[in-house]
């Protein structure tokens, strides 16, 4: 299965600590949004997710903070990772954030709370336990799609 090996080589790699730092900030921001039930914070976070999902996780404001202020202060060798796993995670985050926004706008508060909580849980797991959303979710999504396509 050399095809995946080749695909990996020409993909972009970034410092693996960057997405984890971003997940930490995302956790704080989403927790604050939930506690205050503040729609604007969720919208801001959705924009950040969108940048990460579309342009790449290394271009979000969080990643820029990491690159300019955190990374120069870190010691030790940087472990790199492919950008595609964190990009997938940002896309999932964006979906949850959009669902939360839809819930707030339609005054359907349970949707806001539930969707924002899921996004918060994923960000927290990523920050605290190096959770790999793409590993756990992507294959399941493909399998569900296959089952429905039949």
């Amino acid at each position: 299965m050399s095809s995946i090996l080749e695909k990996k080589i020409d993909s972009v790699s970034i410092d693996a600590r960057g997405p984890r730092f971003s997940a930490g900030l995302t956790t704080v921001v989403l927790a604050f949004a939930l506690v205050t039930s503040n729609l604007w914070i969720v919208i801001a976070q959705a924009i950040i997710f969108a940048i990460g999902a579309v342009k790449g996780p290394q271009f979000t404001p969080y990643a820029l903070v990491f690159k300019n202020f955190i990374k120069p202060r870190l010691k030790g060798k940087a472990v790199t990772e492919d950008i595609r796993p964190p990009q997938f995670a940002q896309s999932v985050g964006l979906l949850f954030a959009l669902a939360a926004i839809a819930g707030a706008i339609s005054s359907f508060t349970p949707l806001f709370t539930l969707a924002a909580s899921f996004a918060l849980a994923a960000a927290f797991l990523n920050a605290a336990f190096n959770y790999c959303l793409g590993c756990e979710l992507y294959l399941l999504l493909l399998r569900v799609r296959l089952a429905h396509g039949k």
Binding site: M1, E81, D82, P85, A128, Y131, C135, L146
Partner: protein, 121 residues
Amino acid sequence: MYGLWYQRSRGRIKAKPGRGLITESMIGAPLGSRATLVQFSSAFCTPCRATRTLLANIVAEMHDVEHVEVDAESELELVRQLNILSTPTTLILDSSGNEIARAAGAPKREQVINALTAIRE
């Protein structure tokens, strides 16, 4: 709680009685004469790369063990048949293709070597 379970369970090798033989044509590569490590990977998976390096490294020292990497995305039927739920998942097969054990997440070096040593020719 889930986070702790996740962290502790990833990469742990669990003995698994096989659900039928895995053949060379299913994984698209020849089996090792003693054992085979079948790794299921996907694009959105950070630990897949580390797992590939680790397993390739292990089999480099064992002439009778093969490492086969399968792109889960393009082999969805096989993924469903073998009930692979996440990537990376590594199956440890004996010489005839019976699944002896599997690990979801990046496995540990000693554990893989122990599992392989337990498989006789």
